[in-house]
Symmetry: C2
Subunit: 113 residues, 2 copies
Amino acid sequence: MRSLGQRVELLKVIAHPVRIRILEELMKGVKCVSDFEEFLEISQPNVSQHLSLLRRFGVIDFYVDGRLKCYFLVDPIIPDIMEILKKDYVKGLPAPACCPVTKKGVYPGERKR
Amino acid sequence: MRSLGQRVELLKVIAHPVRIRILEELMKGVKCVSDFEEFLEISQPNVSQHLSLLRRFGVIDFYVDGRLKCYFLVDPIIPDIMEILKKDYVKGLPAPACCPVTKKGVYPGERKR
DNA sequence: TTTATATATTCAAATATACTAATATTTGCA
DNA sequence: TGCAAATATTAGTATATTTGAATATATAAA
C-alpha cells in the first residue's frame, strides 16, 4: 500500500495540464519526445522536464531507439485515475450515502453537544 | 465530463497530506472543525484554511449545528480516488497491456524512422 | 449584555513549482 | 572525423502554495 507521502507525490505529479495530456497520450501507446513537442504547444526542454519528472516518480519509463527515447506508461494506476477523473458529479442526481445534503435551512442535526 | 482544467484543479486540491487525511476522515462520516484539530496536529486556522479550500472547489460542504460547522463529503469521486490510490504497483507482476517493459539492453524496436 | 467557544479571514514570510533561455550530451550519418 | 538531430540539464526568474500569527466573526450560555 502506498504511504500518505507517496499518494501525495503521485497526485502532485499528475496534477498538471501538460502532464495529464502526456499521460493520456501514453495510454494510447509509446511516444517519443518530439511527438509530444508537436501536439503539446510547448518547448522541447519543457517537454523533457515534464517527462523526467514523471519518470523520477516512477509513473513512466523509456527505452532507447536510435536517437529517439520512447516513453511508455509504467504505473497501471494511471489509466484507472484518468478514467475516474472524467466522471462528472452531476448535481440533481441522488447523493451517495457518503454525502448528507443540506436542504435550504433545514440541517441534519446529526451531531449534538 | 470534467474539463482538463477541472481535473487538474481537483487533483491539486487533493494532493496535500493534511487534505487527504481530512477527506479520509470525512469518508467515515460528518466531522466538525475541532474534530480535525484533535487528530491532525495543526493549528485551528490552518484546519479552517484547508477546509475552506476543499469547499471552494466543491469537494466538501458543511451544515451549521449550533456553533459547530459540520463538514461532509460532497463529490462522490473522492472515495473512488482514495481507493485507487491505495493500490500499490507491485514490481514483478506481469505488466498490463499499456506498459511495454524493457529487458536489460534489449529494447522493443516498435518505432523506427 | 457580557463572556467564552468555535470557526474564519487576512497578511506576510517561507518554500515549492513552472517556465524560458542558454547550453550540454548523445547518437546516427555523411 | 565532423555535423546535425533528438533529447537533457542548468540557472535564473516568475508565480503559486503553505503556514503562522494576529485578528475578526458568530453564537450559545451565563
